[in-house]
């Protein structure tokens, strides 16, 4: 956490020294600061900051890619005259435990076209989703658990390196 604040400070320092307060320059300053901190990482106590940032960036790219693919699929379904979809309401047992993890997962599921999270059971163990292309119910469940949920939870659950 303190490394993150240091990184922000470095970015602000870069912006004020280069005298150009634009978002692109702020991002550039953050990247340079991150690189500097990464190169001198052995000077600090072990922290999971670098791992978290790396996995977060990877996850964002993965998610945007999935978003584009799935959006095209739904667009195809909307634009073609016949309905080829096989909707189901599916019960999805959760690996996520805390409220933050569950709501993050539910929001991401809702944002991926083709799946929509409906409700979480009162004991927070099962998430009910509505899936549009669910001819094979088990495949949809496995896909979400192994891709989206596992990658999401791995972001902050891995030990510091």
């Amino acid at each position: 956490m303190s490394l993150f604040l240091t990184n922000i400070l470095l970015a602000l320092l870069w912006v004020s020294l280069s005298g150009n307060f634009s978002p692109a320059n702020l991002l550039f300053g953050y990247l340079i600061g991150y690189l500097a901190l990464f190169l001198s990482r052995r000077a600090f106590a072990p922290s999971n900051y670098f791992g978290v940032v790396e996995r977060l960036v990877r996850f964002v790219f993965f998610f945007v890619w999935e978003l584009i693919l799935a959006n095209l699929r739904v667009a195809y379904e909307v634009l073609t005259p016949r309905h080829n979809m096989h909707p189901r309401v599916i019960a999805l047992p959760l690996q996520a435990r805390t409220d933050f993890e569950i709501s993050a997962l539910a929001i991401l599921i809702s944002l991926t076209p083709g799946t929509l999270s409906l409700d979480v059971s009162a004991d927070k163990k099962v998430l009910y989703i509505h899936a549009m292309f669910a001819e094979d119910e088990e495949a949809v469940r496995k896909d979400i658990q192994n891709n989206l949920e596992a990658r999401l939870l791995a972001i902050w659950r891995q030990p510091p390196s």
Binding site: F21, S22, P23, L67, A70, N71, V74, A75, V78, L79, H83, M85, H86, P87, R88, V89, I90, A91, A106, I107, I109, S110, L111, T112, P113, G114, L116, S117, L118, D119, V120, S121, A122, D123, K125, V126, Y128, H130, M132, A134, E135, E137
Partner: protein, 131 residues
């Protein structure tokens, strides 16, 4: 260059919005309509706002646009969740092509609690159409 980029971003945003509206008008039941409206609309608003940010290219504007995009991405799924849950309680029927419904029988109608492990006795009546 930046103007071209902004125009294309706005155009694709509008295209997604149009597809979302087409989906809302065409899809057979409420839940599939909500699929279409939440995602494509969020993506559409996001792209149009990004295009506007590129067009104006000011720092205050960019910050506002980022705030709107984050807000829309966080709230649209919440709205969809609340509406879907409410519609399920109101007895809105699923499309006849729906293969299975794991939620059926798991809601306690009186307390509105969702129980995952056992079925609640009181079931929703079949084909209960809300007007």
């Amino acid at each position: 260059m930046a103007q071209d980029l902004s125009a294309w971003l706005i155009f694709f945003g509008a295209l997604f919005m149009f597809i979302a509206a087409l989906g809302v008008a065409r899809m057979p039941d409420l839940f599939t309509r909500m699929h279409s409206s939440t995602k494509s609309a969020t993506l559409g608003v996001g792209l149009i706002m990004l295009g506007a940010a590129f067009h104006f290219g000011e720092i205050g504007m960019t910050m506002r646009v980022i705030a709107i995009i984050v807000f829309v991405f966080l709230t649209a799924p919440v709205a969809a969740h609340m509406l879907g849950r409410a519609a399920y309680f109101a007895g809105v029927p699923l499309w006849e092509g729906t293969l299975s419904d794991a939620l059926r029988g798991h809601y306690d109608r009186r307390t509105h609690r969702l129980i995952s492990d056992e079925k609640v006795e009181e079931n929703f009546p079949e084909g209960d159409i809300a007007v």
